[in-house]
Each structure stands twice: as C-alpha cells, then as structure tokens.
Symmetry: C2
Subunit: 159 residues, 2 copies
C-alpha cells in the first residue's frame, strides 16, 4: 500500500513508462479531485497550470493509467467517459453510485458498511467459482430520480 504524495511516480516508472511533466500534472489534478472527472474536465484543470497540455495527451495518459490499474474508468451513459484515481491500492475496490435518469447527475455513495462489503465479497467468490472469472472490482448503480427532479418533473414518463 504505497504512501506519500508521489507514490504514483514509482508506479509509473515501475510500469515501464517515463515520468513526464504532463503526466505529473494530470496525476496532480486527479489526486486533488475525489470526483470522477471527464477527459475534458481534466484537460481544463491541467490547462490552468500547464497551458501547453494537449487533449490528446490527456486521453493517452488516462489510457495508460487505466491499463496500469492506477485509474478507474466509468461509463454512465451520458456520452463521456469518467476517470478516477484509485486511492486505495489495497483490496478489491468498489464504487457505488446513484444516477438520476432525468438530469443525469451522479451521486457517489460510500455507505456500504463492513458486512455489506463482506456480503458482496461472498457473492464475488460464488461467481468467481461458477464462471471461472477472476473478479478485480465491482460497481453498483442505482438508477432513479433525484430529489430535485422529483420536485420539478411531475410527469416523469413523458421526459
């Protein structure tokens, strides 16, 4: 379980990649934000402190970080991929979200208690065995209507 502000530098070098300035800036932005950001959001944030950055580099760096298991990728169906730094480099990671069908807002929820986690872990074990599938992590998504939209939209079905 790596610690310190620059553990990811070691990870990148250990992954056989060069530690460049653009990559450092991107990692700083990712580590500063706990939310899942889109490539363009990351690009804009990096651009403030490193204007030479190119959107292409953001995409390429993210792809490297994902395949190096340093960043997690999410697709919520709003047309853009989101990315989030994996902070806990320990056991299986899990991410849970409430997604509003109306405004597409995404709410993170971390309310899974200890035995909720144990519970999902036991399901994972069962599925792993049955399908001979090695599970690395899981996500649960709860789709519905958020508080704000419930008030604003009376007739949900009509969109």
């Amino acid at each position: 379980m790596p610690r310190g502000p620059h553990w990811f530098h070691r990870r990148i070098r250990g992954y056989g990649c060069r530690l460049t300035l653009p990559r450092q800036r991107i990692l700083e932005v990712l580590s500063r934000s706990s939310k899942h950001l889109s490539a363009e959001e990351i690009y804009h944030r990096v651009h403030q402190v490193y204007p030479a950055i190119g959107l292409t580099t953001v995409y390429r760096t993210l792809e490297m970080l994902v395949s190096g298991a340093m960043v997690m990728r999410f697709d919520f169906g709003d047309g853009r991929t989101r990315y989030e730094l994996i902070k806990d480099q320990g056991a299986l990671t899990s991410h849970h979200h409430l997604i509003c069908r109306v405004c597409l807002k995404i709410i993170d929820c971390e309310e899974f208690t200890g035995d909720e986690r144990d519970y999902l872990k036991s399901i994972e074990k069962k599925l792993s065995k049955k399908y001979k599938f090695e599970i690395r992590e899981h996500q649960t998504r709860f789709y519905g209507v958020c508080d704000k939209c419930k008030k604003e939209v009376t007739d949900y079905a009509k969109r």
Copy 2:
C-alpha cells in the same frame, strides 16, 4: 403485468405513439433475443426481414422505448450502447454482469437468490431515505478477467 405476444403494442399506443411496421419489427427482434444488443446488431437483424429499415429509425425507436420504460439501456464502456427489452414489467428490475477487462466479453448472471435480492432492497431503502432519491432499478458489474483470457494472457498488466 401485461401478457401475450403483443402487450408492447398496447404500451406504445398508450404512450401516445403510432404503431408502425419498423417499430413492430424492432420489437420482435428485441423480444426474440434475451441478450443486450447494440443498435447496429438490432439494425442488422431487422434488416434481414425488413430491408427498408434505416439505422436512424432504430436509434429513434430505441430512444422512445427507453423513455417509455419498455427497454433498458446499458453502457459497458466498449463504445456502443446496448439495449434490452424489459420483460418483467413488475417490481424493480436488476441486472448483473461479469465484464472481462481483456476481451470485453459480457456475461449475464442471474444467480442472485431471494435473500440476496432482499439484501439489495434494504440497501436501496437506506439510500432512498438518505439521498431522497427514488430508486427504479439497479445494476451490479463485476470487472475482471474471464477464464479464456486468463489462459491466453499471462501478463495482464502489460495488456
């Protein structure tokens, strides 16, 4: 809980839309396949029996069916959206998948037993209350490496 081969016809008309030939063909393809299909896969299947079909119509029909809660949309992150007819028009639907990070294969799993369902239902209740969020359905995704890829790919990290 509507029954019979053409319950969706009633649903569409009740939704204020016309029941056209292309829509019927699309619904037939959807109801015949239990897997989640991409728009293009649906297009090809409809094309076999109704060559005049346009891809645009497939997309538009799917959008209508999704907003009318007749079809469920999935984004697994491989660049194309998948669609699946909602067969059980009753209680909260749930869908669970194993997704291989290597070959992107998607395995449906229906092994959630009764009390597993109850368990997730209790989490839903908790979350609903805390976030004032009306939950309609949920999905759980387990990411990892499938049996086949485990054998083929020794060094997963290197991709």
